[in-house]
């Protein structure tokens, strides 16, 4: 193990390490802690200059105010409406493409695979004008569907990379054996490969959920009104309205951050497995 375990350096080292850990963590999360504290600080605290001390009262009313005086509930619902179908669509499409690229050997296999990989890295701006124009032409501009379709298509790149590498690592003998038995190809996919892909599907779902929930660029490009805007784009406009009302901005930020955070803690193992795929050989 590297570095040498603190236990091997004696009890003093262990104690020092355990004191250092929380200090390091507080320093690391300082901006987050500051905002979390501000979100429950009564407005009077901010007015009287109590910016860092413990809040004089636990002002849950900030959150109530955010919900009552802004469409943040609507924004969060919009985010959910966009995120869930995107996760389903991108994962479904990439199960298919991943299977095709991971199992079959044909000449353009690598070319198509790397087209997906490369497409996943391009800057969004090169897509922006045509995608926006296309959405306008198709009547999908400023609608959930327009945003969802684009997200599904774009995320298919990353998901294909992920699924294909996952399927590549499955034992090939399973598929070969089924073929010798005369099992149809689509049945091999449905009954043999798909059940084995469950961990990959779980990992990808959490990752894509987080990516799409946190997407800001496409939400600003493809939606304009509070009826369809997701929470990230909504937060931008609210930030403009709430100038210097930091207790509201903070409460709104915490609310917007909450769903992916819950997702992360609930599905931590899958999340990390998805993110670090390829980090070890």
């Amino acid at each position: 193990m590297f570095p040498r375990p603190v236990q091997q350096r004696g009890p003093g080292a262990v104690a020092t390490y355990q004191v250092l850990l929380p200090i390091a963590l507080v320093l690391w999360l300082l901006p987050l802690l500051g905002v979390a504290l501000t979100s429950v600080r009564p407005a009077s605290d901010l007015a009287s200059g109590n910016y860092f001390g413990w809040p004089s009262a636990f002002a849950i009313e900030n959150y109530a105010a955010v919900f009552q005086n802004s469409p943040i509930g609507r924004y969060m619902l919009n985010s959910l409406i966009v995120t869930v179908p995107t996760v389903l669509g991108a994962v479904a499409l990439s199960c298919l493409t991943g299977f095709a690229l991971g199992v079959y050997r044909f000449r353009s296999n690598l070319l198509i695979f790397f087209m997906f990989v490369a497409g996943n890295f391009v800057p969004f701006q090169i897509l922006m004008v045509p995608v926006r124009d296309m959405s306008v032409q198709l009547g999908l501009y400023n609608s959930y569907q327009g945003l969802i379709l684009f997200h599904i298509a774009f995320q298919t790149g990353f998901c294909t990379l992920f699924m294909r590498n996952f399927i590549r690592a499955l034992p090939r003998e399973l598929i070969e054996a089924a073929r010798v038995e005369g099992v149809a190809e689509w049945r091999i996919f449905w009954f043999i490969v798909l059940p084995l892909m469950r961990p990959a599907i779980a990992a990808l779902s959490v990752l894509i959920f987080t990516f799409i929930w946190n997407d800001y660029f496409w939400a600003t490009v493809l939606t304009t009104s509070a009826a369809t805007q997701t929470v990230t784009a909504g937060l931008y406009s609210l930030n403009g309205q709430w100038i210097a009302q930091w207790h509201l901005v903070s409460a709104g930020s915490i609310l917007a951050a909450l769903p992916p955070v819950i997702m992360f803690f609930a599905m931590q193992k899958h999340f990390i497995a998805g993110l670090t795929l390829g980090a070890v050989k």
């Binding site: 262990v14 901006p31 905002v35 298919l96 990989v117 969004f124 790149g157 946190n214 931008y236």
Partner: protein, 310 residues
């Protein structure tokens, strides 16, 4: 492969047997069709279309007017373009600090003491949060007069600094905000990598007297190469894609000094001062070509690994 070569025992209707004979060849294409269609429509074709549009003068609604290299010629003398380009270079250079910083935190956290799992998760926290929220958090952090950072500087030097209002500092302030989640990401890549470092090699090297930096450099880092590769890829792409933080924290200001290419493109194409889609497309093409240099390098290495692996 063997399947198709097997003799067909039962005589079946012609379409069925034709399918049987060709199913191995056709199945991958049927599976690829929906994904390829969507990806082609929303990713591949728009790239080509953006190149095409960059030769036009177009407000997004009216008639497109062909102006040849006009947009690119305008870019050559556009000071805002150079500011954005310069900021992109700064972003790229400083963002790469996330790689060593993430490695350092990973090494710090790679211990087995009580509660360490929770600590690792909490250190990873910033990556899970939306960049919009990260941007708001750092805006609060830097806020003049009462921001934590402002007060800290005031306490040390006697004079606070309003980072986001200072044209010379603003880009660095935004990059620091971007580094926060990026370091967390790199950290988790390295933690996984460290977990898989061969204990035998470490022990052997230790017996040979390797320790500290030498151990890290000669024994650990070579084994972490896959993690380092991914860390560099995601960091470079992240740096060149930076948009959210600039938009949220400063909107490109003050006086356009914190613009990056991705933001400047957006501003030109969809700003309140009029839509200049063609000019925006030209900026996007430049950004795309810059990124292609890196993407090609990454893909080239991945193709090489792929050929060796199979």
């Amino acid at each position: 492969m063997t399947r198709a070569a097997l003799p067909n025992a039962r005589a079946e209707a012609p379409p069925r047997s034709w399918w049987r004979a060709n199913q191995q060849r056709l199945t991958p294409w049927l599976f690829l069709a929906p994904g390829l269609f969507m990806f082609g429509l929303y990713v591949i074709w728009p790239i080509a279309d953006s190149f095409w549009l960059s030769f036009f003068d177009w407000d997004g609604l009216g008639e497109k007017r062909w102006i040849g290299w006009g947009n690119y010629q305008e870019l050559r003398t556009d000071p805002a373009f150079y500011t954005s380009l310069k900021n992109n270079v700064i972003w790229l250079a400083l963002y790469l600090l996330a790689v060593p910083a993430g490695l350092m935190i990973a090494i710090f956290l790679n211990q087995t003491v009580f509660g360490i799992r929770l600590y690792k998760s909490l250190f990873f926290f910033p990556f899970v949060i939306s960049q919009v929220v990260v941007g708001l958090m750092f805006s609060w952090f830097y806020a003049p007069n009462f921001g934590l950072f402002y007060q800290l500087i005031e306490w040390i030097t006697g004079r606070g600094v309003a980072v986001l209002a200072d044209p010379d500092l603003v880009t660095y302030g935004i990059i620091a905000a971007g580094l926060w989640p990026q370091i967390a990401y790199v950290m988790i890549l390295y933690l996984t990598g460290l977990n898989n470092v061969s204990p035998d090699q470490v022990e052997a090297a230790r017996l040979d007297g390797a320790r500290g930096w030498r151990m890290l450099w000669y024994v650990i880092l070579p084994q972490l190469r896959p993690a380092t590769f991914i860390a560099v890829v995601v960091t470079v792409i992240g740096a060149l894609r930076s948009f959210d933080l600039v938009s949220i924290m400063t909107d490109g200001g003050p006086f356009g000094s914190s613009r990056v290419l991705s933001f400047y493109m957006f501003e030109q194409a969809l700003s309140e001062y009029g839509f200049r889609m063609g000019y925006g497309a030209a900026i996007a093409v430049v950004l795309f070509l810059i990124m292609m240099v890196f993407i090609s390098g990454f893909i080239w290495k991945m193709v090489r690994d792929e050929r060796e692996g199979y």
